[in-house]
């Protein structure tokens, strides 16, 4: 196998192994996980999170090191619950927050959406 794509260079010029469409996640975003990708094309598992305005952000994580965080991401996809993700360097998931369906993760936002997981609203 060629080592071309596997290079662990010190400071990669481009974001390595982000393989989903969408904006690279940088900073905090709140939305729903719409896709999880585990492919040989990427060293890490990729996640696609869609915010309320429809923008999709791509993030990645080493699931071998972050078992629990990955379990939260799978739970978020399966339950359709809102999740808050914080992306760091190379869109690596630094924080994942998943709440109960009634939890006001997206406080202060406007109209409801069909996939809005909240059941109550302050």
């Amino acid at each position: 196998m060629s080592e071309r794509h596997q290079m662990k260079s010190k400071s990669p010029p481009v974001i390595p192994s982000l393989i989903c469409p969408g904006m690279p996640l940088n900073g905090a975003q709140i939305g729903v996980i719409v896709r999880i990708i585990d492919s040989d094309a990427s060293v890490y598992v990729n996640y696609l999170v869609q915010t309320r305005d429809g923008t999709q952000y791509c993030a990645q994580m080493d699931v071998r090191r972050r078992h629990n965080r990955h379990a939260l991401m799978r739970l978020a996809l399966e339950s359709g619950r809102f999740v808050m993700l914080v992306g760091g360097i190379n869109s690596y998931v630094r924080t994942a927050v998943v709440g109960a369906p009634g939890h006001a993760l997206v406080d202060g936002s406007g109209d409801s959406q069909p996939n809005d997981a909240r059941t109550d609203r302050p």
Binding site: V34, I36, D38, S39, A41, E78
Partner: protein, 186 residues
């Protein structure tokens, strides 16, 4: 002291007729035995007959996971048993689908395709787990994974999630129709 010989134990298994041959239906319950490693799965066929198959959940952790999911979500399953009622193979299908067969002979997936996971097969003849994908034109493809591979646990759990949620997946297969990538969700 009573002796628990496994061959004798099987014949007095409660919960149904010992499972021999291939039977399809829904799991109705599981029964722990005195032997911690062995669990009995009770299958109810369409005619209402109860069959009881035994599984060593230590040596067949993957089958245990699949059967527990089938029980949890009420998914149709097919089980095959040997002469003494030991489970030798199984297939799980999504809810609202017919009882699956244990067959995994479909087109070999050697590229990237999107569709639904319509069956997961784990049987003795092959030690790889087979995943059957049905594309929108109705064709069925199979791809496989070996449980000892690095990526297996995560990819298998994504396959299981896709099956029970009935959500689309995109699978990439390699030369040996080995799964090289999976994406679940929209």
């Amino acid at each position: 002291m009573r002796q628990f010989d496994s061959s004798v134990n099987l014949s007095i298994v409660q919960g149904g007729i010992p499972l021999t041959g291939v039977k399809g239906g829904f799991l109705t319950r599981i029964i722990d035995s005195n032997d911690f490693d062995k669990v009995n799965f009770v299958l109810k066929t369409g005619e209402g007959v109860l069959y009881c198959g035994q599984l060593n959940i230590v040596t067949h952790e993957n089958r245990n996971k699949l059967l527990m999911m089938a029980l949890d979500y009420g998914l149709p399953v097919a089980l095959s048993g040997d002469d003494s009622g030991v489970i030798t193979g199984l297939a799980v299908a999504p809810s609202d689908s017919p009882i699956p067969s244990l067959s995994s002979s479909f087109l070999k997936l050697q590229d990237s395709r999107t569709g639904m996971v319509v069956r997961i097969v784990d049987k003795d003849q092959i030690s790889a787990i087979t995943y059957v994908l049905q594309t929108s034109d109705g064709s069925r493809y199979c791809a496989q994974m070996w449980p000892n591979r690095d990526n297996y646990d995560n990819r298998n759990s994504l396959f299981m999630m896709a099956l029970r949620m009935n959500i689309p997946v995109t699978i990439t297969g390699g030369a040996n129709h080995e799964v090289t990538g999976i994406a679940i969700g929209s």
